[in-house]
Subunit: 184 residues, 2 copies
DNA sequence: TTGTTTACTTACTAATTAATAAGTATTTTC
DNA sequence: GAAAATACTTATTAATTAGTAAGTAAACAA
């Protein structure tokens, strides 16, 4: 149960989402852990292996999130999802979907598949949550749940990116506007 | 007026928006132009100089866009803006704002300022166009023009990013939903 | 206790990177 | 026609990169 492996994933995730996949190197992680580069290669032979580990961590993390809030009302679930993105924005990161999207064409196909699957899962969850909420008359929106889900996701993940450039004042406005949109 | 300089900017722009700022090198451009690396350094001594040239090109390009559609109705202007993003998506690129946003913390402060100014200009233009359209009863939306502008921009620029991952079917749905939202 | 696995280090390679200096041919300017 | 600017090439540097091979020390398993 090497905890080093987990710490490497955490540091890799932070670097990918703060600096970008192609802007960090194994030595960034090695220096932070006070070990040699080869120690990182021991746990993750190649950089795509580390990327894969990071994506898997997000998949597991999102599964835990879904489980954690499954008992709450649909409105609360969506609000919790928006809060997750707020914490991303406040920590100066971007989400893993956005981080990989811009570097997409420099990523291995294998990693693309994993990111694709993760992203599909997130969109499905939002869609279903919106759909269930509408059925129970807890949520209101026009158009298909899928399109509404994509709208919310793009607002949030580009919101976190945009906040780096223009500051964070717009982000909370964006978030409130989404809640208004699906509750009025 | 060396056209090489312009071609380098075009190639640099394409590489930044297709592969990412940290995923391309001067040799990518040099090979495409069939010249030596040093020839690129002659026109743009450092990589941030090239990034600056690319951002300036986008600023001038956006100014031309604003001028070109200033005589049209506000609805048409917004539609033209959405069409611009559609062409980005179809060409497999992301917009310059999104491209720099994810690599933000690996960019020089000087470049960050230029991107910030460009982004501010884009948001202002959307806001004002929405605001004018509302006054003339051509457009309808709840909330402030600024928030609505940020919503549209995030939908579009994350939409182009997301389309890389999930395919382009969602993008047109997103676009239609925005038009519906501001016209009904 | 012996052997094997784990988690590293040391030491290295080959490739790529951004960047510079010095030289050259062509064009432009005075 | 001389001087200077333009647009490169050749050649090189120093740094960084991802990745590997071989060795080691400690924990663990039979």
């Amino acid at each position: 149960m090497s905890s080093t492996r987990e710490v490497i994933i955490q540091l890799g995730d932070e670097l990918i989402r703060k600096k970008g996949y192609n802007a960090f190197s194994y030595s960034d992680i090695a220096k932070a852990l006070n070990v040699k580069n080869a120690a990182i290669h021991y746990h993750f032979p190649t950089k795509p292996d580390l990327a894969s580990g990071v994506v898997r961590w997000h998949t597991e993390s999102f599964d835990r999130f879904v489980k954690k809030c499954s008992a709450k009302s649909e409105l609360v679930q969506i609000k919790m999802f928006l809060n997750y993105y707020t914490s991303i924005q406040l920590s100066g990161k971007v989400c893993i979907i956005g981080a990989f999207a811009t570097d997409w064409n420099s990523m291995e196909q294998h990693i693309q598949e994993e990111v694709r699957e993760f992203t599909g899962g997130v969109i499905s969850w939002i869609s279903e949550t919106l759909s269930n909420g509408k059925e129970k008359n807890l949520l209101t929106f026009s158009g298909s749940p899928k399109i509404e889900a994509v709208k919310i996701l793009t607002n949030m993940f580009a919101g976190a990116q945009l906040a780096r450039i223009t500051g964070n004042e717009d982000f909370s406005g964006l978030k409130n506007s989404i809640i208004e949109q699906i509750t009025k």
